[in-house]
């Protein structure tokens, strides 16, 4: 696909996306743009369609209507090369979803070897570097079942990074963690953001969103109610729904 995409255009462009599961409409016309290097946080009550939106960007879930473009490429074009998309977009899940029969290192190495067909030695060097980057040195040969939730989640982040994505999607990555391990995962994400990685986070960590986010979106019942940079969003929310939500959380 030759699409003339230049870095000054939105790296992710979402326009009027609708998505239903059977009779239930989860997304009712969502639009948002993410620029390269930007960190976007999506917050909102559970069931408001945040996770579904992330899954749509990665083409894990098809949409009913609208358009999602990643680097200028329409995601829901039937002729889309899903592999190309998934090389660009990394995703980290709430429940980590590591491959339980592979060690931490093998988890990180698997996709580059089998999907990208890169040479094993090169991949291993990169994977060890990534494990180090997420501060898990010494845990290379541990199986997921032997790691804490926070450690597993950091392996999952390393696993996604091994594909050298342009965009990272984080789907409530700290929601299943113990409070004391939340921090170690957030530190890893913050470092990524500081390095200029484009990130989209669905999160309940308001403090974190405020600290690392360049732009905050608040969703409720399938629509974006309000958005803005954290400085104005958290202090001057105009919509009563946003204010009600924030007052519960903060």
């Amino acid at each position: 696909m030759t699409t003339a995409w230049t870095p000054d255009q939105p790296i992710v462009g979402i326009k009027d996306v609708h998505k239903s599961f059977g009779p239930i409409e989860v997304l009712k016309g969502v639009s948002l743009n993410v620029r390269k290097g930007e960190v976007v946080c999506i917050i909102g009550p559970s069931g408001s369609g945040k996770s579904t939106l992330l899954r749509c960007i990665n083409a894990l879930v098809p949409i009913n209507q609208g358009s999602i473009k990643v680097e200028g490429q329409e995601v829901h074009d039937p002729a889309l090369d899903k592999l190309e998309l998934r090389k660009k977009v990394g995703m980290v899940f709430q429940s980590y979803n590591l491959f339980p029969h592979k060690t931490a290192l093998e988890n990180v190495m698997m996709a580059p070897i089998h999907v990208l067909k890169r040479p094993k030695e090169e991949v291993e060097a990169q994977a060890r570097g990534l494990i180090k980057k997420v501060r898990l040195e010494g845990k290379e040969d541990a199986y997921p079942g032997e790691l804490s939730g926070g450690q597993q989640q950091r392996v999952a982040i390393a696993r996604s990074l091994a594909m050298n994505p342009d965009i990272m999607l984080f789907d409530e990555v700290t929601a299943a963690l113990d409070p004391e391990t939340v921090k170690e995962v957030l530190v890893t994400i913050r470092e990524l953001a500081e390095e200029g990685m484009t990130c989209m986070l669905v999160t309940h960590e308001m403090g974190f969103a405020r600290e690392v986010g360049d732009h905050i979106y608040f969703t409720d019942r399938g629509i974006i109610v309000e958005h803005g940079p954290p400085a104005t969003f958290f202090t001057n929310a105009s919509d009563p729904r946003t204010r009600a939500f924030l007052s519960q959380i903060l």
Partner: protein
């Protein structure tokens, strides 16, 4: 060895315990050959039926309804009819329909012999059960794990081969073990189509030498040993596949 044979021979003379199939070279050779045939038959069927199980379980996840229906029909047919009748059907009904080929003496003979038909029928029989076993294992693999592989760009076959199957195998190993033991025991049915396996040879020896009881004890010991060794191997496999922190 000679000393042992002499001792067994003396048992016959003194107590009438007829272990001729041990001390007589001819009987011993043919019995050992029968046992080797049983081992070959069992090993081939185990491998083929596991392959059928893996491929069948993969096909059951297919999007084509006709293909799924076909696999389902195969499973139900082979699960709910007697394996012996299946074997007769293959050997006596399908066998003659096969083209005949000339052997080195220029005599036309069936393309597939009784051993080959026994392999085919027993593998299909056990394979039908194996598909169901692997499928229950596949269903036990979390959807989220599959989704993660999907999001990393693995294709459908890669996901099955690298993620789903390795996990499914660990879940369904006990059931698989059960079914394969059953398969090994069922190889005795090949007796009915004159495959020269252990039971068949044993029955020849006991009709020639009138030592039914001694032969029976030998036979049962052989099969208990065979099953025992197989179970031991499977336990070792299970242990080597064990992943710390998974599945307990």
């Amino acid at each position: 060895m000679e000393g042992l044979w002499d001792f067994l021979r003396s048992l016959h003379d003194a107590y009438g315990i007829n272990l001729v199939h041990f001390y007589d070279t001819f009987e011993r050779t043919r019995l050992l050959r029968g046992m080797w045939t049983t081992i070959q038959l069992a090993a081939t069927c185990v491998v083929l039926s596991v392959l059928i199980g893996i491929i069948g379980a993969w096909l059951q996840g297919s999007r084509f309804k006709i293909l799924k229906g076909f696999v389902q029909g195969y499973i139900q047919f082979f699960r709910n009819t007697p394996p012996l009748v299946q074997m007769y059907f293959f050997y006596f009904a399908l066998g003659p329909q096969m083209p005949r080929i000339e052997n080195e003496y220029g005599i036309a003979q069936p393309m597939l012999g009784s051993f080959a038909w026994a392999v085919i029928s027993l593998s299909f029989f056990a394979g039908a059960f194996n598909i169901e076993i692997f499928r229950s294992g596949v269903e036990a693999v979390q959807k989220a794990t599959v989704e993660a592989a999907d999001s990393l760009g693995f294709n459908r076959w890669q996901i099955y081969r690298l993620v789903v199957l390795p996990l499914a195998v660990r879940v369904c190993l006990p059931a698989l073990n059960n079914n394969l033991v059953n398969l090994i025991k069922t190889t005795t049915q090949a007796y009915a189509i004159a495959v020269p396996e252990t039971l068949y040879i044993a029955s020849q020896i006991w009709s020639d030498r009138i030592n039914v009881f001694e032969m029976m004890v030998t036979l049962l010991t052989f099969y208990l040993l065979l099953v025992g060794i197989f179970v031991w191997l499977m336990t070792r496999l299970e242990r080597s596949l064990r992943v710390p922190g998974f599945g307990q």
